[in-house]
């Protein structure tokens, strides 16, 4: 555990830290503040108004934004299905490899990291004919995009889970549980998953963040998600597009904060 003792020379001084943080913060803050300011503009003539924000909740304007809300719904469904793919396929595979097939760890890691090296646009070229088949089996609903997203989030999800998996002695824990009479289902449910909670949550939240920010694949495969809809709307109503971009940004920020919170709490602390 880290101590709060000051180590002289080990880290930048208070002034240097403030300057660095300030400069970096400014780089991020300026465009965001500009976006916020933009959403309150009345028009090219100048002046400020709340109309653009109010329009979002105005029932009369509802039809205008329907497309956007549908897209948001699509994106949320995609996020859920993608997370489900990660939890149902990747997680058990990783646990199984860790416990029973340690030799397959390297190959699995390699396979899971590959998607990060392939640009989305290249991925789509390969995915297009695959989706010809997918459409025939599952139809062309937006959620089928999750199959592709399940692959693009692999590197992030793998890293988060593996970090947790290596920090816990899953082999000894499961052997101990087995020797106490637990079957494999109990080992997984009562012993392994609670100890992999942090990795699982981090993987899920990162997956959600990636899915909400995805544009290329959805756009090139002609599916509507949050990002494609934003681009669409921005062509007719730039204010609303920026408002939604801000909201999406806020949501991802909240997710990231959650991840770091989960990462810093130790298991078991909750009840002491």
């Amino acid at each position: 555990m880290s101590t709060d003792a000051v180590r002289i020379g080990a880290e930048p001084g208070k002034v240097a830290r403030t300057v660095i943080l300030g400069a970096v913060g400014l780089v991020f803050a300026v465009p965001i503040l500009a976006m916020i300011e933009f959403t309150f503009r009345a028009g090219l003539g100048g002046g400020y108004t709340l109309d653009h924000w109010a329009a979002l909740v105005d029932p009369e304007q509802n039809t205008k934004y329907r497309q956007l809300f549908t897209a948001i719904g699509n994106s949320l469904v995609l996020a859920v299905v993608t997370v489900a793919i990660v939890l149902v396929i990747l997680l058990p595979t990783m646990i199984l490899v860790q416990l029973q097939f340690p030799r397959l760890r390297r190959p699995l890691e390699f396979i899971c990291i590959v998607p990060i090296t392939v640009p989305a646009i290249v991925l789509v070229v390969g995915l297009a004919p695959v989706y010809g088949v997918v459409v025939r089996i599952f139809g062309s609903s937006a959620w089928t995009l999750a199959f592709a997203y399940g692959i693009t989030v692999l590197p992030y999800a793998y890293r988060s889970i593996q970090a947790n998996l290596s920090a816990v002695d899953v082999i000894t824990l499961s052997e101990a549980a087995r020797s106490l009479g637990a079957n494999w289902l109990n080992v997984l449910w009562l012993v392994l998953l609670p100890n992999l909670r942090r990795g699982i949550l981090a993987a899920s939240l990162i997956s959600v963040a990636v899915v909400l920010g995805e544009y290329t694949i959805a756009s090139l495969l002609n599916r509507a998600n949050l990002q494609t809809a934003l681009v669409q709307v921005s062509k007719s109503d730039p204010y609303v597009a920026v408002i939604f971009a801000l909201l999406a940004l806020g949501l991802v920020l909240v997710l990231l904060l959650l991840i770091s919170r989960i990462g810093s709490t130790r298991p078991g602390r909750k009840r002491t």
């Binding site: 052997e175 087995r178 020797s179 106490l180 109990n186 130790r266 298991p267």
Partner: protein, 357 residues
């Protein structure tokens, strides 16, 4: 505190320990033979230690017995029933591991309860037995702590309670003390023996520490290269090793160049009886215990190199010749100083011998 029920915590009606029998157990790891036909029989309630250098197969024996490893040949009988095909979770064994193995997300109490939960014991009964077993290992007061809030010794105590709470037929201990510091190790070692005696549970204890094995076990099996080299009481192993390996591995031994003929070993000018395996006549190494050598007024001249105080005895290193250094154990009262010229003599007890190559 003075409540008589709590003063003598017992696990009620602990079933008398089981008989354990390993018959010609063979185990291969990726083509490498780890166990080449190990046979071992443990009486009900007996405490047997498996002792040997690392890689000798002692942990493999324990894992085969627990069911964590599948055997490639032979049979394993618990109370006469072959358990080779019984999965680990149905073998009814208790196990304590070398590394800390408490479930980190559960309190000490919940850890102890776990085995009972798996056996679907009703919650009232479960809580009572968990509390009782925690009491047995002296940790009632720390029941609500998590593993990371316990010291290493406390964690291993909880692990012991967790293994015992289901009243298993056999208790398997896989070097449970090796991660602990010396003082705690001694304490817990004695406590394990006390609890084992109290419960009468058949116990197999794996260790590479010969002192630990000799101190705690009814019988010790010394293993080497996937075989049991000798099994006997600690006294038998120490005083009557049947092979040079056992003589060398159990206790400290000086290796002195000697000559063996017809069961008589001639070493440092004395003729001693040969223990154990008969070697072909000719040059051998005699394995002489430090306590079988004494400082004397006359005998073989030697120079003192170092002397260390070990509490109840003193051990002194002396140089007899250019390439012969000897360890002697003697009374604390004698205080040889480095550089002193002394004489040493053998006390005349029988010695083991190993071939000189």
């Amino acid at each position: 505190m003075t409540d008589p029920i709590h003063a003598h915590p017992t696990i009620e009606a602990a079933q008398p320990g089981a008989t354990v029998e390993l018959i010609s157990v063979v185990k291969d790891y990726a083509g490498q033979r780890a166990l080449s036909g190990v046979s071992l029989s443990i009486r009900p309630g007996e405490f047997v230690a498996l002792l040997g250098p690392s890689g000798c197969g002692k942990t493999t024996v324990l894992r085969c017995l627990s069911g964590l490893e599948q055997v490639n040949g032979g049979s394993i009988l618990i109370d006469g029933n072959d358990v080779v095909d019984v999965p680990v979770n149905r073998r009814d064994i208790g196990m304590v591991f070398q590394s800390y193995s408490l479930f980190p997300h559960m309190t000490a109490f919940e850890n102890v309860e776990f085995g009972l939960r798996m056996r679907k014991v009703a919650s009232g009964e479960r809580r009572r037995r968990a509390a009782e077993t925690l009491d047995l290992v002296g940790l009632s007061s720390l029941a609500s702590r998590y593993a990371h809030q316990l010291s290493g010794g406390q964690q291993q105590r909880v692990a012991l309670a967790r293994a015992l709470v289901t009243r298993p037929r056999v208790l398997l201990l896989d070097e449970p003390l090796s991660a602990l510091d010396a003082k705690v190790r001694l304490q817990l070692r004695d406590e394990i023996r006390r609890i084992q005696t109290e419960l009468g549970i058949t116990t197999l204890f794996v260790t590479h520490d010969q002192e630990e094995a000799l101190a705690v076990a009814d019988r010790v099996a010394v293993m080497r290269d996937g075989n049991i080299e000798q099994i006997g009481t600690p006294e038998e192993l120490y005083l009557n090793p049947t092979t040079p390996f056992v003589a060398d591995f159990v206790g400290l031994s000086n290796r002195l160049p000697a000559h063996q003929a017809g069961g008589v070993v001639t070493v440092l000018g004395r003729e001693l009886a040969l223990l154990g395996e008969r070697q072909p006549d000719g040059p051998v190494f005699a394995l002489v215990r430090p306590e079988d050598v004494a400082l004397a007024s006359d005998g073989v001249p030697a120079t003192v190199l170092a002397s260390s105080f070990l509490g109840s005895v003193r051990r002194t290193q002396v140089r007899v010749s250019e390439d012969l250094i000897l360890s002697i154990q003697h009374e604390v009262g004698e205080r040889p100083q480095p550089g002193d010229r002394v004489h040493i003599t053998l006390k005349g007890r029988p010695v083991s011998a190993s071939p000189r190559v």
